[in-house]
């Protein structure tokens, strides 16, 4: 039915099967849209946030998808600026995943503010000293860059590409892509960092606060570094998942191996920095404010020391070691386990830096406060996931995302 739109030389499932998939995830998407409208019309009283939880599930989702979407900027940097040419075989997918992650982040932010119609104040009345201002500017600019990186891919659709103007535009955009990729890396460095800074500058919250250099707390650098390390893991995770679902090999092993290896090294060095940061925080910063490390992880039903071990050891050191060894990278089960654990690890880190910061009491006569999101919050968090799946389905079906697919499946 739609075979004229499908890239030449590749096989896709029947249109009926595709349509059923779209309808199922479209239903989930509509559920999310309904919740979103409820929130916009009735206000944030539809959530379970409260005066202790000013930041909750959404901000975590925001930080989470931006970290996971970090694969786009880092792979782009490696491919276009550093010159790792093999990565041209995975960069399209990294860009698509990044585009989905960043558009989702912007949507979630638009739902999260109390007065959505005033959202533009963050640009117009910008307080340049606020980390959130830096996030807003860099995030929007980088989303523009991702859109520019995604456009040539759309233009390469079999039918669109027949139009000379679009064909030439796609070609010309590819020609100067290195400049856009470098700008994207510059912007990403700052917004990934400033997202880390959001928590790190809170000197009234000893759990979040970190010392730093000049105006940047250490979390600024840790967040950028972790996005560079864990973002490509998410690209690999989704690539592997797409291969499993479509039943096709889409990217050659040497490309996967290269990205996994770079990710492993970045993750390893990040973890060394993270461990030093945690040690300094536990032995110097926190005691100077009257806290022992264990105070941050006790007297509450959820936030135990397990969360620190899970983040750094189980979902940090273990996947890093797997990715650093050739045997680990070449064993598809081990590799998949490693990238899955890494994704959980970075999501845990972002959870802790948002939710645990809010949960922990600072005044001696205050108490830990737990939080369970409302269905509206859950639905609006699942909304971008459904949107992402739909966009991946459409892009995979109609756009030449994987240059090696034809060769690998001939």
């Amino acid at each position: 039915m739609d075979s004229a739109l499908i890239p030449e030389g590749v096989k896709r499932c029947s249109f009926g099967k595709f349509a059923i998939g779209i309808i199922i995830f479209g239903g989930v998407l509509l559920w999310g849209v309904y919740a979103m409208l409820l929130i916009w019309l009735k206000g944030l009283n539809q959530t379970n946030m409260n005066d202790y939880y000013g930041f909750a599930l959404w901000i975590w989702a925001d930080l989470g998808v931006i970290a996971l979407g970090g694969g786009a900027f880092f792979t782009g940097l490696l491919r276009y600026v550093i010159g790792k040419d093999e990565l041209k075989n995975i960069i399209n997918y990294a860009v698509l995943i990044g585009f989905i992650c960043y558009s989702s982040a912007l949507l979630i932010l638009a739902i999260d503010v109390g007065q959505p119609l005033r959202s533009w104040f963050i640009f117009w009345h910008a307080n340049v000293h606020s980390m959130l201002t830096e996030v807003a500017f860099c995030l929007s600019c980088y989303f523009a860059v991702l859109t520019i990186e995604y456009i040539p891919l759309i233009l390469e659709n079999r039918q669109i590409n027949k139009v000379p103007f679009f064909h030439n535009l796609a070609h010309n955009m590819h020609e100067v892509m290195a400049i856009f990729a470098a700008t994207g890396a510059f912007l990403s460095f700052f917004h990934q960092g400033s997202l880390g800074g959001v928590a790190g500058v809170l000197y009234g919250r000893p759990f979040a606060f970190r010392e730093g250099i000049f105006i940047w707390p250490w979390t600024f650098f840790l967040f950028t570094w972790s996005a560079a390390a864990y973002g490509p893991c998410f690209t690999l995770f989704i690539t592997r998942l797409t291969e499993k679902i479509s039943g096709k090999k889409l990217v050659k092993q040497n490309v996967i191996d290269l990205l996994a290896k770079i990710s492993g090294w970045t993750m390893g060095t990040y973890l060394i920095a993270k461990i030093i940061d945690t040690w300094y925080w536990a032995s110097v910063s926190a005691p100077a404010r009257g806290f022992n490390l264990i105070d941050f992880y006790s007297n509450n039903p959820f936030y135990g020391i397990w969360i620190l071990i899970a983040e750094i050891v189980v979902c940090g050191i273990i996947p890093a070691l797997i990715l650093l060894t050739p045997k680990g990278r070449n064993n598809s089960t081990l590799l998949f386990t490693a990238v899955s654990l890494a994704c959980i690890g970075v999501l845990l880190n972002r959870w802790v830096m948002v939710l645990q910061v809010m949960a922990m009491p600072v005044m001696t006569f205050d108490n830990w406060v737990m939080y369970i999101p409302s269905w509206q919050e859950v639905a609006t968090t699942i909304l971008p996931v459904a949107y992402g799946i739909i966009l991946v389905m459409i892009s995979f079906r109609y756009l030449p995302i994987f240059p090696q697919e034809r060769e690998l499946n001939s």
Binding site: H129, E156, N168, A170, F186
Partner: protein, 53 residues
Amino acid sequence: MFPFSFEWIWDLSHMIFMGGLVYALTIIGIGMTYCILKTVVDTMHGKGGGQQH
């Protein structure tokens, strides 16, 4: 965001922040303008007709 809003101060923080923003936007703007103009010229010269990429 602009010097005419009352919270604007001509200090180093504003210059660095807004300088970085203008720098990024300029590169993105020039890059896209170049792409579109070159595409118009290429198309007028008959490039890309009926080709597959």
